[in-house]
Amino acid sequence: MAILASELINWSALWKIVVAALVGGVGVVVVFGVLLYGVKIANDAKSGGREWAGYALAGVCGLICVAAIVVGIYAMAEKPSSKKPAPKKTAAALIAPSFRPSS
């Protein structure tokens, strides 16, 4: 049963997806929440220093969120299938290995 599962499930890709999803998904939600918290600190501030600290916190979190979007677009544009070298653009490339003649 375990052998069958290891054959059918691509664990190496799966754990990377789970880690990336946790970092990207949960991370962005938390960082965006901290951004809002920074704005709240700035809005509620009674001193100039606290106001700037709030805006600085919001700014850093905003940059992290923008970076996450950039990484997302990079992942779309540079997915592994886009890195295929020219020789693979042949008729043979259209035939999956499992269907190719063994000889």
Binding site: I9, L14, L22, V28, M76, L94, S98
Partner: protein, 394 residues
């Protein structure tokens, strides 16, 4: 002349499938943003349409060939390849319309794979299908993806509500509404990249089978890219309000922090899986994300009967689209050597079926105005969620 006519029908069917894919999957990106009032419904679908169009051009990768590694490509590129691809597209498109009529989000990619498999089995033999690869690259990811997205969204939602206690209801809910626009946009862009390319692959394969483009120096013609991008964008812009209603309102009552968590988690899962070469269905990921966002706030807020309907549709998608694809092939095959007559007949039947479903759907129509919640303020949203008025206004 016969094969030219069938090629034209394949191209039209391909663009039509992309159109159904667009309006079927608008919900994936925009349902939660519409449900929380972050965007007006029509603004949301137009934004999503533009991003789907742009997304179709983002990746420079060779468009994925359909059912790669599952169906022997020699069959699809062979003598009956054009008719087979046409039958597969008709099967997938009809399944998309049936699930749209029943307001259920289901995977357009699985419908396409199912259509190809069904038509191939009826046309040739099941030995042309690599069942091991089907389980490994389609079934297993389909089972796992809602759990991954759901788990991430549940954790994100839980943490978002912990943060809201420190933030105050009004600021938090307003802020997460703005955030939703960006997270939903990223999902739209990813959808355009992944799904428009699948149809580009189908049409390119038909062009190879017809001898218009070379398999040796394979590249997708610009008119195919433009046609697919435009079709998916027009489909997205046309709404798909029935499925948006299910995804945004019927799975759970989505609030802005949940919507942001669901879309961010879904975007992260879709992009990571695309990057690491583990293709997941956008629909199943987002459905899992919305479910997780519901669970992350309150288990009782999830409408399990709707989840049950969705699961049934997911299980039935490949066999259903496969049966329709196989049926389309069988009907076309009745005309034997007059392949062009058979192709015209199955296209006419599909068009009649689509019109019939559209007519039936008019009886219990869902419109953009029914879904507009932009008039609900963040404070009212908090009050509707059971937050005491004094706390909601804070």
């Amino acid at each position: 002349m016969g094969s030219e006519l069938i090629l034209i029908l394949v191209v039209v069917a391909g663009f039509s499938f992309d159109f159904t894919n667009g309006f079927h999957d608008t919900a994936n990106a925009m349902a939660t943003s519409i449900a929380t009032g972050a965007l007006k419904p029509k603004v949301a679908v137009i934004l999503s349409a533009c991003l789907n169009f742009a997304g179709a051009f983002i990746s420079i990768s060779v468009a994925a060939t359909i059912a790669k590694g599952i169906v022997n490509p020699k069959v699809l590129a062979g003598g009956d390849g054009l008719e087979l691809v046409l039958a597969a597209l008709i099967g997938a498109m009809t399944w998309n319309l049936i699930t749209w009529y029943f307001t259920i989000p289901s995977s357009s990619s699985h419908a396409l794979i199912g259509g190809v498999i069904g038509a191939t089995i009826v046309a040739t033999a099941s030995s042309e299908i690599n069942w091991h690869n089907l389980v490994q690259t389609v079934i297993v990811p389909a089972v796992l993806s809602p759990f991954i997205a759901g788990g991430v969204a549940a954790l994100g939602t839980y943490l978002a509500y912990r943060l809201i206690r420190r933030l105050g209801q009004r600021e938090a809910r307003t802020g997460y509404r703005y955030g939703q626009i960006f997270s939903a946009s990223l999902v739209s862009l990813a959808h355009g990249t992944n799904d428009a390319q699948k149809t580009m692959g189908v049409i390119s394969l038909a062009l190879i089978a017809h001898g218009d483009i070379s398999a040796v120096h394979f590249s997708v013609p610009l008119w195919v890219k433009l046609g697919c991008a435009l079709s998916i964008a027009l489909g997205t812009a046309s709404g798909g309000w029935r499925i948006i209603n299910t995804m945004g309102n019927r799975i759970t009552n989505v609030e802005s922090p949940q919507g942001f968590a669901a879309e961010s988690s879904s975007a992260a899962v879709i992009l990571a899986s695309s990057y690491y070469g583990y293709p997941l269905s956008t629909t199943q990921v987002v459905s899992g994300g919305v479910l997780g966002a519901g669970l992350g706030k309150n288990v009782d807020s999830v409408h399990w009967n709707v989840i049950g309907q969705m699961l049934s549709a997911w299980i039935l998608t490949m066999p259903g689209a496969g049966a329709l694809g196989g049926l389309a092939w069988a009907i076309a095959d009745i005309f034997g050597a007059h392949a062009n007559v058979g192709a015209i007949v199955i296209c006419a039947l599909a068009a009649a079926g689509a019109f019939g479903l559209w007519t039936l759907a008019q009886r219990n129509k869902v419109t953009a105005d029914d879904l507009d919640r932009t008039n609900v303020s963040p404070v009212e949203e908090a009050e509707l969620a059971g937050v005491p008025p004094a706390v909601a206004a804070a």
